[in-house]
Structures are given as C-alpha cells and as structure tokens.
Symmetry: C2
C-alpha cells in the first residue's frame, strides 16, 4: 500500500478508536471524499458542505489578517446540539487532504 | 442601565479579564455590532464576516441533521496560526445576540 494510503488508514483507525466518534472522513482538494466510515450518501453530503465551509472560513481568516501576511486557517470546530464536527484542512499538506471528524455528544 | 445592557457589559468585562483575549464583540441579529473593545473598522469587519460565517454554518448543521428535527448550531471555533475566534450565536437568546471572542495564541 502506498505511503499516503497507509497514513490515511492509520489516521482513520486511530481516530475511530476514540469514544463517541461517529464518523471520520478524508476529503481531497476538490471536495471529493477519498476515505470514510460513513455511508456513501452522508459522506458525499459532508464532503461537499464542509469543503464549502472550509473555503468560506479560509477567506474570513485571510480578510481579518490585519498585516495581510501569513495567517492561515488551521482548524474549525462546529458544536451543535447533537454533535461536534472537527475539520482540519490540509492535515496532510502534501496532498491538500482535509480531515473531518464527527463526534456525538456523550 | 437596562438589564440587557448590564448583561452585555458584564459579559465583556468578564471575558476581557482572561489572558490572551484580544477582542470581544457582541453583534445583533442583523450583523450590526452593539458592543466591542476593538477599533470601529475592525469591529465592523469582524461583525459582517462572522455573521456570514454563522449563517453559512447554521445551514450546514441543518442540512446534515439526518432526522431533520432539531439540531442547532451552538458555537464555532476557528483556529488560525495567529489566533482563535470563538463564536457563540444567540448567546443571549431573547435578543439574538452573537458573541465573538478573539484570542491570541499565548
């Protein structure tokens, strides 16, 4: 298995072992899911909606960067009544992969 | 001073006392800032950008709510290289006020 495939699998396995983790997805730079432990329909929905949210949030961070030099989005946490969605854009810099973790409130 | 003005002032004072807090703002349901300890230009910029981000994130939460019944956005945390922005929509339910806190990384 190629290096990156190994990284992807290891990452998902490690995260899934945490209590309360309902879903783990990895999305590429085009918003296409390349790995997920959720069903296909839900995965595609998360991938497209969260990719839009990442680009929106990235532009907010850039616009709010007074010195306009190098502030960079690192993560987004969305807390709702039912769960928490943690998004780590470019968690794998080389491949522009975004990690999405869905945690149910315990 | 009216009750809500007191709540607003107390909230800002309490949060500002925390180490690393660079900015605290309260924005009304129309995205208009009603209180801030940042300069006016930056406050207006935060208020408009973050209000857009809240409505975008709210719609993502609603669309991802499989049972379509009552999931609700509670908070957003945006982590960037320079700081963390914590957003609590409707922190004061009666007035639809959104709280925005900007923390520098210590």
């Amino acid at each position: 298995m190629g290096d990156i495939a190994l990284v992807v699998d290891e990452t998902i396995k490690r995260i899934c072992s945490h209590k309360g983790v309902a879903g783990v997805m990895i999305v590429n730079g085009d918003g296409i899911p390349i790995k997920s432990n959720l069903d296909n329909a839900l995965t595609v929905q998360y991938a497209s909606l969260i990719s839009l949210l990442v680009s929106k949030t990235r532009s907010v961070v850039k616009q709010l960067d007074k010195s306009k030099d190098d502030d960079e989005l690192q993560s987004i946490r969305v807390q709702s009544k039912k769960h928490e969605i943690v998004v780590v854009p470019d968690f794998d810099k080389a491949h522009e992969y975004t990690l999405i973790i869905v945690q149910n409130h315990s």
